[in-house]
Every structure is written in structure tokens, then in C-alpha cells.
Assembly symmetry: D3
């Protein structure tokens, strides 16, 4: 399935402005806007709370216990990218720490999403480099076996192509295929447009049952109230 | 086991004063006071640290990937309630977010406990609405299939009846059956009465071995010290 | 495998100065310095972020659902110790809370590492007593069955002897055997010596590919760049 | 939630003939017939393949690592019963083995369903006593702490009352509340009535799309075929 | 990521002869022959031991708890196909049972691989229709929401395109992309060519250390023997 | 904790006759006879049912995804040995298959216990070589990094020294330290001596309550019968 030992250098990226604006909506809204697909599995968790980022994907395929290709990937980073790292087997090792984060940040990366472990999390928090990972682990890795950079990868159960848009926050990580980025942005904007109005109504005590006109379909589905 | 498609409107609730006072003792003390039963499984975790709540249970049975009944439940909330949501299959989807929290809060709910996922966790933290959930996930849900409201449910392995008292904090979630609430409160108060004294002694260097008179039973059980 | 019902009182401890200094390097560096062994499994997590401790190990073997031996262990604590608690079966019960922490702290313990659950985590955070555990749970335990104190134990997959050095922080927990402590400290110091220099270079945009001279071995391994 | 230290001796049981006939339909059909509720979580697996049993529930609440109450339960078994054992904490210990199975069988039990571990599985297979458990483990248990017999229990996520009907086979375990047993039997029989006919049609190459008249609703839902 | 509500009817399939021959080598050899990629996660297990199949992939994307699209997929099956079913969320429900298996078999399918649950496993064993699934569960599903047929899916962590070759046996499930099928077959044949010879040598007591000439590289890597 | 890159050649082994006789008692009885310690975690499962073996331990420490040291271990096998393989990180890869089994068997090994994955399980069943593993996986491994042979290892949570006795069957795997082997054998024999008598009584309908004289302690513990 995977091509091993290759680095694609010139990848088409989703439009930067679109990628940037998608981030502001957050993963939950973007996921809805895409038709409820594209979510990476929720076992990926941020190493610190509150980060909200978006960017274009650089993809990396790692071998278990080996972070060599993260160094190779660093060279491919362009400002505004988010690095997406998959591993060819389930692993919680600490593939990424303070030094790599320093380098990624210097190259312009906004975040790392890794289907493996991360370490130096206190330092990463202090330098403000966000990571979504499946584990935190002090266990380091070797640099011995080739993987690939910028091939399509399956990361936490989702297919990510290089250049796709990644949106990540406390709720999780969503991948928006490059070709769908513009229309997803539009759909997300539409979803949010009347949110403030809804929020105000609900805060004032209006019930969703009435606001969304659910009483009739609920009755049609057979809901019975018992006193 | 479950009655589907019904909403019980007039449920007997545990006495509000008792429910309120139980919260001050926290889940660990209340769990002990009940004879070490009633704890929901510890995979339920708070979405932010530090919340400590208690209240009377509104129960909701959800279908997987469907949060319709949370809207139905909103109407049944009375000030001081805690909503307990079970799902008929294991699921980590994000059934609950900012809009529903706004509505629940407006109706007087103090918290949500859900054996499923939650989203918009940053916003929920900002509005101070606590949730105990098994996952955080951006994945939204549909509104298509009936469950029930205010029937007895099994949530995270524990049986909860509507009107029971729920106590939740950083240590977890405990359900106190309505009929046991008063006597559990008494037992909890008794447990805590001499805690300050014990704490002072231990802080002064007195050993639990001596304070609890454990040396004799330990010797009787055969404990040997080897120099 | 385990001797049950014994307490070893006079255990040889790693040198205090060495144990203290190892803590400053953190679990990730110490793990590397040992040759990438000695890590406890990453499911052990700190109950609050930011703690970084080291000390000499007091070991405890607990029976599932029973914390009796933690009281026995308290008497064996010397200032600078870290208590390492293993359980003879997988369990998430809350073996340790505020009262025991008060006692452990009074005896000079710096932290607890437990392959089980912990409770009263808000209070523990307020008193600043760090715990690494596999779970947080309000479920208390009984005091009925003997285990042992200061025998070698397997905790979260790692063998720990009493007197070994424990290093724990946000990245995890590492055990340094007493006999390897001095030379591990040396190796850790060596690793860190030129870290600042590396960090500066990477921050300035130098690539790890060049700094670590990886281009040649990558090419030798067959890495191909595709434009 | 649970009453500890009690044994209810005279429990009302579902009608034996109904319990017996439900078994013939198997867990999948019975689960459907109940409206798709009542299933114990699928982590419960049979210790050997091919067993298909039904019977009336004797319930047992065990303390973790303690099988004392299984001996107490043995006395309450009547021919045609299935023993349902819950544990107050998650545990994989081997609570049940050859000797208890010999006793249970002699008292007329048809099977054990346990939310814990089982051992002597080879011997149990040879004597043909079926067990559904969450684990197989050689780890034995003590006889030290009281639980209860014939109180309502939550077993593998499902609420079981003594006297309910249990249906178990290779597909899993279903609990049919006593009050629903007769009408569930009827519904199950209805479901199966035309199965043979459907099976024959499908085997002859008729598509479910046509047999179930799905083409129209699929089109209405928007399904598009692309050549 | 996924296109919802579409059925691709005319998919290019890998050559039947190649697909057939790959099956004889088994998943382990084929996985090696591909360069150790393409394996579906090992949590997929066969519902009965001993099946060894290969075929061309029909892919199905299911919604959680909904097996409607399996009926849609049945019409797309050609003799020699293997159906690969992914679900948009983690789920253990029983999506597939005896009736669907009867239909799939009648249409010429050789097996089902599903990242969800399966039921009627005894009947499936009796009719000899092999299934690899993540769970066995009596829990049935509804027919309410569209997914897709013959789009690329991620199943148990691996990307599968319609028409790829699937090889499955007791060791697991491997996907061979259509474009790599012929050369993988060649590589697999080469791997097996001298296996018989190796097996005979090892059975005669020759050590792998000598047969594979490992002593020198082991010494070079620093291996020390201690008497 | 671990010494890497060494092979201990002359290990003291438990007495062969003792190791052989322990096997006949099975893992459950031996585990009890040791005082309920020494069990490897129950996630280790046999690849086929019915095997019951015992022998002296050869230990192997593997690096994740690398089975080089299994070849090194083969040379250290003496007839009657059981190979115990630990991995320095959690891994389900297939480290062991038909060729290695052929070699191990030729050298006199009776079984493999591995805290990782195994493959070629059909072939292993046909040749009758038993394996207890944490997974079955077609994923092969490389031969690149040193581990060790015949050092003490932690395998599935239990400490195993080379030369210890291993007892494994359908119920799991137990390690009996060499120094405890003789007295464990005695204790196991004593346990079994009156089992036949007990079994006969229980089969005749005598209750464990009476046979074990439990009624009095149950009453003393407060058990109440309710009619």
C-alpha cells in the first residue's frame, strides 16, 4: 500500500487562506461541514489544552521505534504546514521532542499530529508547539530504517494526502481533502452564521425542541410522554 | 431491558438539601459511605479539572451516534439536576457541545455525565459547564432514532434511576440511590468528622500503623520484618 | 516470584546526591542515557502536570483492592524516597488519597508511583504531592491481605529493586538500577552538554539532516527524492 | 446501588417452558425480538464454541478476587438455571473452575455467565459445562468478603434481575426480563417463521435489494450509481 | 475524505489468476513480498480457524449500526470477490449474519472482511463462509443511512481500493494494490522457492545462525557470549 | 534494567524431573501452590487449544519489530526448554513462524511464550508446536538490533530468570522460580491429592457450603438469607 523510501518534494497544497480560515471554525464545525467524515480517531489527544491550529499537511510514514523520517520531513516544511506522522505498526514510543520541535518551528510548522508517542511535553508546552499524539512516552527512538515523506498515509484511521488541510483543537483532528477545502469553508461559515442567534435563544430558556421544531417528528417517531 | 420511546415527566427526586450536601463530601467519601458501591467506571473523566458537583439525576438513553433525546431531556430538567446519559452501544461520538450546554444550563442543569463523547470542550470550560465523559470527540451525531428519558439506565456500568443523587468530581462519579441518600449523607458526615484530627496527626509524623492500631493485626496475619 | 508477608527494613539505597541530580535531566534523557531501557509503561500518567522528581525507591507489593501495605511502607520511608507500588493483578482502584499522602510527605517521601488507581487528586494537587498512576478512581480499598515491602517488584512492566533511583516527570517514569546510577548520571550529563548548542542551531534554521550528517546514510539506505 | 451480604431465596422465575424455547432461537434473534436491547457487552466470549443454552437467571455479586459468593449461589440453583455473576470492579481473575462447575452442574445449572475470568477451561470443555467470561485466567481467588445472591446486578453493562431469562450462544448473551419473556418468544417465533423462505430465495440469487424492496428507499435517500 | 451515497459499478479488478495464486502463499508471505506493508490491523480475527482465501476487493463504507450498504454491495459482487467493509466510527455491532452470507455466497463472494462485528457465527461456520471481523456480536443493525460502495476505504488501518487483491488466513488480512499484484506474486513465489530446503535443514538441526550466516554481523553488532 | 547484547551460555536449570512433573498439574494448580503469584498476564493466549507443557526457561529480550535474538536463542536451547521472549516495547508483530518453530523443535524446545505476536499459526498447529502469545499477526520482523539471551526478563508482567520452570496450558502461563520448584511441586501434589474425593462429593450434590464448612464464617461475616 505504501511506497517506501521516497520523498515527494513538490506537493500541491490547499490554498493558504482557505487553510487558515478553516482553523477558526474548529474541528467540530469543520467535521460537520464535511458531512461528518474526515475525523482522525479520538484517541489522538493534544499534549496541552487550548491549542487551535490549521494548516496544510506534510505527511510522514515512520517505521516503529524510528524517527529518522521526521528529520527528512523537516526540510519539506513550508510556513503554514502541519506535519502528519503515521507509523507502520501501533506504537507509543516518543518519536518527537524538544529538539525536533525547535527545528519544525524554525521551518514554519504549526503543529505535529502523530499516531505514536511524544516526549518533552513540558518543554513543548513552554515553547507553545502543539502536538496531537496517541501517547506521551519518554522512550526514544532510533534512526535506522527508511519510511517516506509526502505520500498518502493512514493516520489514526483517516487517509491524509499531502497538501490536505488539517484542523486540530481540543476536540480532535480533522482532515479536509484539498479539493474540498473551499467548499468546506463555505459550508462551515454557513453553519456558524446563525449560531450566535441560536445560542442566545437557548440561553434565554427556549428549548431546542421548539427552536428546531422537533416535537412533530418526535411524535411521528412514536415518542410517548408519561406523567 | 429498556423501554424505548418514553419520557417520564413526574419523577420523584431525592431531597434537594441532601443532594446538595452530599456534593461537599466528594465522590470518594460518598462511595465509602455507601459501603463502596455505586461508582461509575473510572474511564469517565471530567473534561476540565476542579469541578465538584452534585444533584438529582435526569436519565437519558441514547442510540449510538444520535443525540435526539438530549433535546427531549432538556425540557425535563429542573434546577439542581444532573443529566446522566447512557448509550445502547459503546461509542465515543461527540453527543454534546456548546449549544446543548447553553440550553441545559439555562434550564438549571449542573452537569452532564455521559457514557459517550463530548465536544466543544474549550467552550464548555469557558462557560463552566462540567461534563464527565468517556471521550472527547469532534464527531457529531444525528437526530433520527428514539431513546428514552427518565427510565432506569446502566451508565458506565452502574444502574442509575431518575431522581437518584449524583456526586461527581475529579475522582469520578458516584450514584446514590434516592432511598439511601439521607443515610449516606449521615455516614459521610461521620467519616469526615475526625478527618482533620487524623490529618494533623499524620502530618506530625504519627504513623497510620499506630494511629489505626494496625501492628497487631499485621503480626497476626503473619507479617515478618527482616533487617 | 514474590515473597509475601515480608518487610525488608535495611535496604541499600543509591547515593542521594546521584539520585537528586538525575532528576534534573528528566525521564527522557535518563532513559536514553541508560541505553533506552528501564522505562515504566507509558500508561502511567501524572495526576497533575509539571512535577519533576527523583529519589530512591521504596517498593510495595499490594494485593488487588487492598492498600494495607502502603501503611506498612510509610514507616520505611526515609527523606528522599519515592514509593513504587505494584499490584498482583490489574486494578484501577483508588489505593492512595489525601491521608496517606499527608503521612508519606511527613515521612519525607517525594512521590508515589502506583500501577493502580489514586484518588483525592484535587487535594493531592493542592498539597503538591505528585503521583503517577494508571487511573484515577474514587473506589477505596480494604486492609485485609498481606503483601510485602522492599522486595523487587514488577511495576508497569519494569523491574524495580528497593534502593534503585526513580526519575519521573510529565514524560513518564524511569527506574535506574542502583549499580548503574552513577554511570547513568555521567552519560546523561554528557548527552545534555551540547544540547543548548544544537537547539540554537536548529532554531536558526539549520536542518537536522545537515547537523547530524544524515544525508549520506539516507542516500546509502536508498532514499529517493521525487520532484 | 447494591445491597451487600444478602441472599434472596425465593425468587420468581420466568416460566421454564418459555425460557427453554427462547434458547432455540439464539441470542441474535432474541435480541432483535426484544427491540435490540438486553445484550451483554460482546467482550463476553464462550470458553468453547458451539454451546447454545437458555435458562432462568440466578444472580451473584462478587467482590474482586473473591469467589465466596459462588459457593453461596450454588445452593440457590434450581434445575434449568443459568448463573450470572457480576464483580464490583473490573477483574480478569479466574473465579470459577472445575470443582465449582461440578457442583453447579450437580445442582442443575446449565451455564455460567461471568463478568470476570474463568479457569480449568479444558476440563470444563470435557465435562461440557459452558461458560461465557471476559477472560481466561489461571489466577485463583480467595473466600473472604461478602457479596450478594439474587439481587439485581449489572453484568457486562446489562441489568439482570434474578429470574430473568438468559439466552447465550456463540454470538453472545442476551437477558430477557421475566415480564417480557412470553411476548419476546412470540416475536422471535414470528421473525423466524419466514426465514427459511428468505434463505432459499437469497441462495437462489435473488438480491436483498429486491426481496426487501430496498431500491426505492435507497433512491429516495439519494443513492447514486456511477458506471 | 469519503464520498457518501455512491455506488461505483464498473471497477477495474486485479487479474483473477493473480488474485487466486496469491492466496496460496498466505498473508505472512504476501506481506513480506510487498515489503512489509499492506497488513490490516491484527485485531481482525477469523470467525473460524483454517480458512485461507484470496480475491478481488469490493469495498463498502458503512455507517455505525447500519448495514444497509451491505445489501447494496451484494449486487456488485462478481465471482471471486472478497467484500471489505469499513465503518465510519468504531463499532462492534453485528452487521453481517447468515442471510447476508447466503446472498453473498450466491453472488460468488469468497469472504467478508469487516472492521465491525459479525453474528450467526455458528451458522457461518457450518456453511463455510469465512469472515474476518473485529468482534462477534448478536447486536443487529438498522437500514437507514447511506454509505457507499466501491470507493477507497480505510479498513482496520489500511487503505483498500476496489479491485485490489485481498489475501486472508489465520495470520490476518493483507491488501495488495491492483498495480502491485503481479510483481508481488512473483516476489512471493521467489520467497517460497527455497523454503522447503531451509525447513529441512533447520529440522535436521542446522542453526539459523549458520544457515543465514548471522554470526559475523552479530559479532560486528557487539554481541558477547558469557560462559 | 536490562543488559543488552549478551548471551549467557551456562545457565543453571531447575531439575528436569521437577519441571516435567509440574506440567501435569497445570497452571491453575501450580499458581495456587506458589501462593497465587508468578502468573503471566492473561492476555497471553495459546495459538491452539489443548496444549499443556512445562520446561525450563530460556529467556530472550527482543527489540520491537526485530526477531534476531530468537535465532541466537535457538543455539542455547536444550531438550526440555521453553523459550520465554520479552520485547522492550509493546508490540504485536509476528516475531515467530514456521521456520523458527522447525528449528526450535529440532533443538528440543517444547514451546514458546512471547509477549508479542506469532504467525504461521496454522502450520504451527499442524506441527504441534505450542505458542502462547499476545497476538497473531502476519507482520514480519527485521534482524538488525541486538537484545540479549538468558538474562532475567519481565514477560507479560512477570519476572522470569533463565532456568526457572514454566508451566503453560489453556488457562495461562506460570513461572516457578528455580529455587521454589521442588517445594511448589510438593504443594501442588498436596492440593491435588484430595481433589478426586471433593469432585465426587460435589458431583453427588454435596454443597461446597457444607464440604468446606463455610456456613459459620459466612454467618459471622453477616450474611443474611431473605425468603
Amino acid at each position: 500500500m505504501y511506497e517506501i523510501g521516497v520523498v515527494y518534494r513538490n506537493i500541491p497544497r490547499a490554498e493558504a487562506a482557505v487553510a487558515d480560515q478553516l482553523g477558526a471554525f474548529g474541528s467540530a464545525t469543520v467535521h460537520e461541514a464535511m458531512g461528518r467524515v474526515g475525523l482522525l480517531k479520538p484517541y489522538l489527544r493534544p499534549i496541552f489544552a487550548g491549542a487551535q491550529v490549521s494548516g496544510t499537511a506534510i505527511t510522514v510514514l515512520l517505521q516503529p521505534g524510528d524517527n529518522w523520517m521526521l528529520h527528512v520531513a523537516a526540510e519539506q516544511i513550508r510556513p503554514g504546514d502541519v506535519v502528519i506522522a503515521a507509523v507502520t505498526a501501533e506504537s507509543t514510543d516518543g518519536y518527537f521532542g524538544e529538539l525536533l520541535a525547535t527545528s519544525f518551528k524554525a521551518q514554519g510548522a504549526r503543529a505535529l499530529v502523530i499516531d505514536g508517542g511524544c516526549r518533552d511535553v513540558k518543554a513543548l508546552g513552554q515553547m507553545g508547539f502543539p502536538v496531537w499524539s496517541r501517547a506521551v512516552s519518554a522512550k526514544g527512538t532510533v534512526k535506522a530504517t527508511l519510511g517516506s515523506v509526502n505520500i498518502p498515509v493512514v493516520c489514526a484511521g483517516a487517509l491524509v494526502h499531502p497538501g490536505d488541510v488539517i484542523v486540530a483543537d481540543d476536540d480532535g483532528v480533522v482532515c479536509v481533502p484539498r479539493a474540498m477545502a473551499a467548499r468546506t469553508l463555505e459550508a462551515a461559515a454557513k453553519r456558524e452564521a446563525n449560531e450566535a442567534d441560536k445560542r442566545a435563544k437557548l440561553a434565554a430558556g427556549v428549548l431546542g425542541l421548539d427552536m428546531y421544531k422537533m416535537r412533530e417528528p418526535l411524535a411521528a417517531a412514536g415518542l410517548r410522554y408519561i406523567d
